[in-house]
Assembly symmetry: C2
Homo-oligomer: 302 residues x 2
């Protein structure tokens, strides 16, 4: 059972949440959503694991700290929300001489992204560092939380920025969580901002998640994928992760600008109702004109 | 730098929270407290690390899952709060065959304690499991969050239940977070429930934390410490951790019952104002009649 399957299994058991009206969104989206005092609150947690998400021998402490915070902040952006506070844990090697610097920089980056550390925990072990960051956020005041499950036939599919080769280029350590872009999209599109996700696990897999959650078909026009200049192959870029750009859908009838907050917006696909010969899911055109199912493309932490 | 020192360092940097009026309590208490929609919200995260908090070779998966959840729930009890929702992460060994069972049992125990899992993350590594559980809770509706920093001269110091030998006896895997006891104390004592903490890091060290946060002197009467029958030495029990009982202070003039919710209440000490020859801190009487400073007693995850 790989990580995606395990998470899906966890989500499947969330049916027991149904009696709890204050749990507006349970497991399975970029964040959970709780109703507290008549306000919707976003809650997410993510891990940063040495040798999996960064190379401990080659990564400055500040960059480790930044990525730990920014990964969870990106989940808040993926709901069009605003981060407000964070909790951090570190399970660190005995005699890890950078523990203080690491938490200092996590505190710095948490403040930088608007969610100061209000708690945390430190433990030691014989192993490489494992960090977790929980972020609390508030949704967009007008649009509310933007889910994965609300893409609609007739939507176009857009991606922010450029993608591909994030890990090898080192961009995975310096990405900017698309908080401002997500908020500006929600400001501009309001309830026409239908579905939203960040593509940390890969554009292909995350497009498939929107398709599955919304019960629609998404077709990606491979040739339109905006690549970084050092990422030559769009099919490979579809299957890579660690981009932390936003993928969203909005009615194709709307004319969107080419950029928002200085970040390119690119229309890369379309949403249709599933049909017998065109099932639910996300698909792209392969190099030989074949159709590639994107469900199992992308980064999976097996 | 050990874990306590590192956490203290993190807390010291929390001064930058002061501009944020919605952060009612930052790092340094059992939970943080955020104001959301005019409601106070408790937030805590704790880790459960193999070979540190349990023996992976000898501990059933269900017991691991229970302890992971119960540790964080105990932090909510230590504010006299009620847990409402939780997020869990697992960094698990590759091909860990119990991953599904572990998350299944964490989901079970989270529901059991009233805080169903609404999110989480799974990653894999080459190392032993590291679990984290974030719990969100609500404070007591009348008393509000009960902090460490509000003990007052003239208070008596009480402990719930019995302590000592928790790890070796296996009780650390089966403890009951004192949610009901804490709420009943807050119901009964209201604003006379002055300070409250759980003693997961050891009665001695946690008494010292109340003393330091409240700027008072606490004297523990070693002979009064209620021990489990298999824990022969009260000084050793003071220095052990993993008991998850409650330590609290209330005016000594009040007559408290011998038990609450069926759990014994024992008066074990007193709170006085510090003086030149009696400095701030928590102290106990040693076997030779000497005075033991409890600040460095207790469980530290070095």
């Amino acid at each position: 059972m790989n990580e995606s399957e395990l998470l899906q299994h966890i989500y499947d058991r969330a049916v027991s949440l149904r009696g709890r009206r204050d749990i507006l969104v349970g497991p399975g989206d970029d964040t959970a959503v709780l109703s507290i005092g008549n306000q919707a609150v976003l809650l997410t947690v993510d891990q940063l694991v040495a040798r999996r998400h960064y190379d401990p021998a080659a990564t400055p402490i500040d960059a480790i700290a930044r990525k730990a915070i920014a990964r969870s902040v990106s989940d808040i952006a993926a709901m069009a929300g605003t981060p407000t506070a964070a909790l951090a844990t570190g399970c660190l090697p005995h005699n890890f001489i950078h523990a203080d610097e690491l938490f200092d920089r996590m505190a710095h980056w948490a403040r930088h992204f608007g969610c100061p550390l209000i708690g945390g925990d430190v433990a030691t072990s014989d192993n490489d560092p494992v960090l977790t960051v929980t972020v609390i956020g508030s949704p967009h005041p007008v649009r509310g939380p933007v889910l994965r499950s609300t893409a609609k036939p007739g939507d176009a599919v857009y991606v922010t920025g450029r993608i591909g080769n994030s890990y090898n280029s080192g961009r995975h350590l310096a990405f900017e969580p698309r908080l401002r872009e997500a908020r500006a999209l929600a400001d501009m599109l309001r309830h026409n901002l239908h579905a939203l996700i960040d593509i940390s696990d890969g554009l292909g897999r995350d497009a498939a998640r929107i398709a599955a959650a919304s019960d629609v078909r998404i077709d990606i026009d491979t040739a339109r994928i905006p690549l970084h200049t050092d990422a030559p192959d769009p099919l490979r870029a579809l299957a890579e992760g660690e981009d932390y750009e936003l993928l969203f859908t909005a009615p194709d009838s709307l004319q969107l600008p080419d950029a928002i907050n200085g970040t390119p917006l690119t229309r890369i696909g379309s949403v249709t109702a599933p049909a017998t010969d065109r099932p639910t899911g996300a698909y792209a055109t392969g190099n030989a004109g074949n159709i590639v199912n994107l469900e199992h493309a992308g980064w999976d932490h097996q």
